[in-house]
Structure formats: C-alpha cells, structure tokens
Symmetry: C2
Subunit: 162 residues, 2 copies
C-alpha cells in the first residue's frame, strides 16, 4: 500500500535511530558518513537552531521515508549548504528526493537564504547523484581535483533561490 | 630591537588572549571572524588533537608575533585546510607569513597530509592576500561567485605538498 508522504521540520529523538537505519539502508554511505548523519540529528536535538542544522523529514505513515538536512554557511550573507538528501531505497521513483530538495529550498528562502550549495564526489558511483542535481536546477560551479582522495574530486553545485 | 622568531606547535591558555589581540591589531577581521579565531584556540586547548585544529605559533621574545592554524578535512584521504595565517602588522616584511605557511606545510606533510587548501575572498581588499598565496606556490583552483555575499566570491587555492 502506498501512503502519501507527510513532511515536518521538527526533529524528534526517535529520528536519530531512524536516520541511521535509513542511511545504512541506502548502502551508499560508509561508517564515518553514517556517524556524521546521526551526529547532525543529535546536534539538532541538543542545541536546536543554534546547531546550524535544519531538517525536512518525510514520513510514509509512521516510517521515516527520507530527509534533507541543510544549514546556513557561517561568515556568508545568505549562502546555505544542503548537506544530505536521503531517500529510502525501497520507495524510490516517487519523486521524494525532488520534493525534499524543493521543500529545503523553500525553507531556505523563507529564512532569508539566497544560494544553496551542494558538494559531492566526481567519482562514477555518484553520476546518478550529479544527474539528480542537474535535473533539480543546480549548476556545477567548481571541481576540486583529488579533493577526497586520488581520482576522487569534489564537485560543487549551486542554485540561486532568493 | 629585532629578536629572532621562535616557533612552537603547543598551544597554551595565554594564546587565547594573545590571538584575539593579534587578530584585532591587523584591522582586517570583523568581530565574528575574531571570535572564530579565538574559538579555534579554545577548542584546541579543551580537546587537543581531537579538536581538528593545529597551530604554528611564532614568538618574538615572549610576544606572539603571528600564527597559522590548519587541520585535516574530515572525509578526505589527506586534504587539509589552512584556516588562518596572521602576522602582527608591526612586524611585517620580515617574511614571517612565508615561514608560517612553510612550517604548516611541513607539519601537514609530516602527519601524512597531501593537499593544502586555502579559502579567501575575491574582493579587492584581499588582493594582497591572494598575491601572497600565489607567491607561496598556491594555485587558484576554483571561484564560487557571490559566495560570501553579492560581489564577494570565494577563491579556493590549493598546493600539493605530499
């Protein structure tokens, strides 16, 4: 059965475990990356907005189906990072990734943000990811060669939203 | 009287105030940036290497004459950020900036680092800063337009050190 997605910006304690399970389920992130994903949730729970991390949580019924995490970039007038977009692999192809990005952009615009940055790897494994950003209206603005490691550069995408 | 510079990597509690005075004395950094400079010192004092912040402190006699702050970039094989290079404006033109950069690079290489990144503004005020990085062998690899604000882009410099 397919339920409609519901969205919330509030983060609740149960999200820490739900995010960990979701990130693991993708098979896409290593242990260090998974730990960082969970840490952003616990930082948000502990410090609220002062954490600098903001979330869009998507649920299908009571189950976390995906989420986006973003935040303002310190020392900038209105630039934001979109840190994470994760969708449950069991429910892909329903446009949830696109909805999460759109809702994060709306929230960023509403809090006075103007530019959204996304960083990802230049490796082949991330080609679908980069295609997704292209489709979502992001422009590849810079590539830092070998940034993550030999042959593994950093691609920086940007979208002007305000 | 001109004393030779002495260098140390240890950070001591008195450095917090000395760094604040030094950063203010340059007249180059705003209140938010000054607070961040001090925070990196106090983070290092509180957490040691786990802070992710490493320092080269230069003294002339007992007085802090300049410093560099760098650290490994999480999620990368061997990339490092060079966050700060500050020299007392009263003692410029003795090559201390160059020495601080060289010593930071040596230390980064010694801890297995391979690439050093420096980020700065594209604004005219930073032209001498960018010239300094050019002279120190850094290559401008990317520019993110309007990153810091309208007309204030981010320039990303890199140097391969290992």
């Amino acid at each position: 059965m397919t339920l409609p997605f519901t969205f919330r910006s509030e983060v609740v304690p149960a999200d820490a475990q739900a995010v960990e399970q979701l990130v693991r389920a993708t098979g896409f992130f290593n242990a260090e990356e998974t730990a960082i994903a969970v840490e952003l949730v616990t930082e948000r729970l502990a410090k609220g907005p002062a954490s600098g991390y903001w979330f869009v949580m998507a649920e299908e019924g009571a189950k976390l189906a995906g989420y986006a995490c973003y935040g303002p970039i310190g020392g900038t007038a209105c630039s934001h990072d979109l840190f994470w977009i994760v969708v449950d692999p069991a429910i892909q192809r329903r446009g949830l990734g696109r909805q999460l990005v759109a809702r994060a952009e709306e929230a960023i615009r509403a809090m006075g943000g103007c530019r959204v940055y996304i960083e990802t790897s230049t490796r082949g494994q991330y080609q679908p990811t980069r295609g997704f950003y292209d489709q979502a209206g992001y422009r590849l603005e810079a590539v830092l060669e070998d940034f993550y490691g030999p042959g593994d550069g950093k691609a920086v995408y940007v979208k002007v939203v305000g």
